[in-house]
Subunit: 203 residues, 2 copies
């Protein structure tokens, strides 16, 4: 049998590899190099993506490296993802982990997800030292009145199941970094509030 | 009823938002700014992580921004991930997507995953313009002989199911960028071959 030069089945080698893996994956980078993760949560049609995409444009204009992650667009990459609580939670946790790693490398993340469950959002908060939770607090009635994508009409007709606000709960943030009342504020004003809140973190 | 200043339920606003989301998520960055995704695939115990973690150290020493993603470590973040084909595929696709976004922002990704299915690896290749597939081609008999983690003994005793090489297939890459024969090469030699292959891409 050929001896394998330099390869050992000793546990020290294995232990060394494992500890490195963990160190790399779970280490907290120094606060000044970790970028913010700006997480928009709110009902479907609340205006999350409209504000979030505008915030991205403004950040990029300022020369900031930004990754925009949109719930609808990400579902096009992973079309098999369903809308049960378990599937949504897994989807959010995976997305949050990705956000945390991008932020650890200095990329500012702007994410727009209904993200209805407190537990998933708190999981992401724990992973991301620079987490900024922004509640786009448009009430259900107003979202349904706007019904930009026609989803509320379909949910009313019973054509969609597990629809947040109807037969699936939305658990509002208890202590978000920012709450936006889109009935009182224009898009421009919302964007300005987010940038102002972010300004403190971007320095 | 309060009018919402600046908010419209017109479709142009929605269409604009959606197209931006898609553009940002699926755009291909110019080739010169996309970092490589160095993907190690091979059986459990083949030596993937040993080589991959050493490659990381060498790249960081050269001042390159690196993210190391290790299959075992990532499963500690997502302990609910199982070992069925569907669960592995989902896990790999999610990981590949994360790798593609990190690489798009100039972060070199080094990933060490059994990643037994050709289809999952090809999904990742399609997402990552700088994909470098490295087959750590240690044969099953040699992995079992080393059995660094004691998993082969457990699989032989029937204590583990869906174990790659036993009751779950390993589909070797058909056209990998690099194949490493760890019976003929030392760890140092493997690392050197990877760095040499990478050198062409890093310039």
């Amino acid at each position: 049998m050929t001896r394998s030069p330099g390869w050992h089945n000793s546990s020290p080698l294995d232990a060394g590899t494992s500890s490195r893996s963990l160190e790399v994956t779970t280490r907290e980078s120094p606060p000044d190099s970790v970028a913010p993760v700006v997480w928009f949560t709110g009902l479907s049609g609340s205006g999350k993506s409209t504000i979030a995409s505008r915030v991205c444009v403004e950040l990029e204009r300022r020369g900031i490296e930004v990754e925009y992650i949109d719930g609808d667009a990400l579902r096009e990459v992973f079309p098999q993802t369903g809308f049960t609580r378990a599937e949504r939670e897994e989807h959010l946790r995976r997305t949050g982990y990705m956000a945390s790693r991008l932020a650890a490398h200095g990329v500012t993340v702007v994410a727009s997800f209904v993200s209805p469950y407190r537990e998933s959002r708190d999981f992401i908060r724990r992973l991301c030292p620079g987490f900024i939770e922004i509640h786009v607090a448009t009430p259900l009635e107003e979202c349904e009145r706007r019904d930009v994508k026609g989803l509320y009409a379909r949910a009313r007709r019973g054509e969609i199941r597990n629809f947040t606000g109807f037969d699936d709960p939305y658990e509002p943030p208890e202590n978000p970094e920012l709450t936006l009342d889109t009935r009182a504020l224009s898009v421009d004003q919302c964007v300005a509030q987010v940038l102002e809140r972010l300004g403190r973190q971007l320095g």
